[in-house]
Symmetry: C2
Subunit: 300 residues, 2 copies
């Protein structure tokens, strides 16, 4: 497997209301993750508001993160865009700056066909030379990758990994086996949907692409390590302790909750880009209570 | 009603593969519509690829169209964008150039709440001063406007009209009455989804926002005029003659079919922005046959 497995931690991208990145605040978030020894950093993911930032601002964010980590932690950079030429340009930028891989979604306005998504991904891989992680996120893109399409894409040179959406615990082993059957042995299969990820890591996924890991890497790393050494009970115990947080992510959306968590935990004060609003008050109170009720030292 | 009723015809926006608008080709399309005396022109709608064009290219398209019509035909300009400040800037550009109104969608990446969409629309209306048409297009935005939200938005100064998605013939009269009940008398209620629009115009909608009207305005104007004078039988007869075209739009998507129609009818040669592909061959043959089978002179 050429793609870094383990925990890929996704920080938010602090920015002002017109989409100018706060590079100093981003450096602090990235430094926390590098210090925790996460396996990789997922910059400019969905909670990293990649679709709301211009090419210039994405490049500024990436340069700040690369400079902060100084090559110690591989960075996977969100390169999704509506037009193929834009995604190619973003992938070239990421490669020029030194990103380890590009995270490419099927972001769309006009719903896309499988052939169109195949053309988009293979063009970006070919024209950029950057290793590509397929970002399957139907909750935002409304596109669904079939096993057949994943198999087709996995045979394209340079397409090296997939970040799957959350899988229910009952389905994870079967879906993982189905996907392994259509990709090569050196193709990395990863999961997201934080509240389902422990089950999928126990079932044998390579990488957890984690939103909570972008704020609180320690406990997420412990879960990943427990799952990898086969200690499912310990992974589940830690995961169970996070249930109050998972419940919030499920009910109020990852992006809005993680912004509130970052602020309430005193890590970073930022607001999502308008039209997205900060979590309204009753839900914000729930986040504060969930943080207060967690075992001491659970989140750091 | 302050907003122009009747036929609002939506041309495609010819552009190259990196999103540079072909202003000369656009002028020809717009000139056809102005010569046909459409009631308004809907520039930069969904089939006008507004989400795939930069602010600069949208402004170039709008300037070319405004110059071509020389103020004779009101222009409604697509101003949708992911960030609120971008939509405000696009609305100000449209106002500066002389557009009659801005067509604003709930385009999103992170799914939006009702409060977020309300904030987005009211901010754009307030900060631009441009009359706003609510563009409800769940097929691309995946957001659904509830009657309650439409009622709330219709009370915001400057939000003057709605372009509804296609309504089934059986539901059109009821949905139209429900919407009229929550908006003021001077709020314009319009329909789209070409293959359903005749039924909704017969039921009493003010405006047909039409994709086919952007290529073949004459027959669409005849349908609108028949519906408005109460001649439902004539409107339905004309609509029935277009069924081969409606079938294509339903099955192969409006955007891809209208590009093929434009080319096969010899009106304009352009391709959609990648990753969107031109209609593949079997479907393209269906479009050619549908054009050939229509009664002589039906489309002009």
């Amino acid at each position: 497997m050429i793609f870094p497995g383990g925990l890929c931690a996704f920080p938010i991208t602090p920015a002002d209301e017109v989409g100018r990145v706060d590079a100093a605040a981003l450096r602090k978030l990235v430094a926390r993750l590098a210090a925790a020894n996460v396996d990789s950093i997922g910059l400019l993911g969905s909670t990293g508001i990649y679709m709301y930032l211009t090419r210039e601002e994405r490049r500024r964010a990436l340069e700040a993160a690369m400079d902060e980590t100084a090559g110690r932690t591989p960075i996977v950079a969100g390169i999704g865009a509506l037009r193929t030429d834009e995604a190619v340009a973003l992938a070239r930028d990421a490669k020029a700056v030194g990103a380890a891989a590009g995270l490419l979604s099927a972001a769309s306005y006009t719903p896309l066909t499988d052939d169109e998504v195949f053309g988009h991904f293979s063009t970006v891989a070919r024209e950029s030379g950057l290793p590509i992680v397929i970002y399957d996120n139907p909750g935002t893109t409304h596109f669904r990758f079939s096993p057949a399409l994943v198999g087709r894409l996995a045979r394209v040179p340079g397409i090296v990994a997939i970040k799957n959406p959350g899988w229910d615990a009952d389905d994870a082993a079967r879906l993982l086996a189905e996907q392994r059957a259509v990709v090569g042995n050196d193709f990395s299969v990863g999961c997201s949907g934080d509240w389902t990820a422990t089950g999928t890591m126990i079932a044998g996924a390579d990488t957890w692409y984690s939103v909570l890991g972008g704020l609180f890497p320690e406990v997420c790393l412990e879960i990943v390590r427990a799952a990898r050494r086969g200690d499912a009970a310990e992974a589940r115990r830690l995961d169970g302790g996070l249930e109050p947080v998972w419940s919030l992510l499920r009910r109020h959306s990852s992006l809005r909750v993680v912004y509130a968590l970052a602020q309430l935990a005193g890590i970073c004060h930022a607001e999502p880009p308008r039209p997205i609003l900060p979590l309204p008050d009753p839900a914000r109170g729930e986040v504060a209570r969930a943080l207060a009720d967690l075992p001491a030292g659970f989140l750091k």
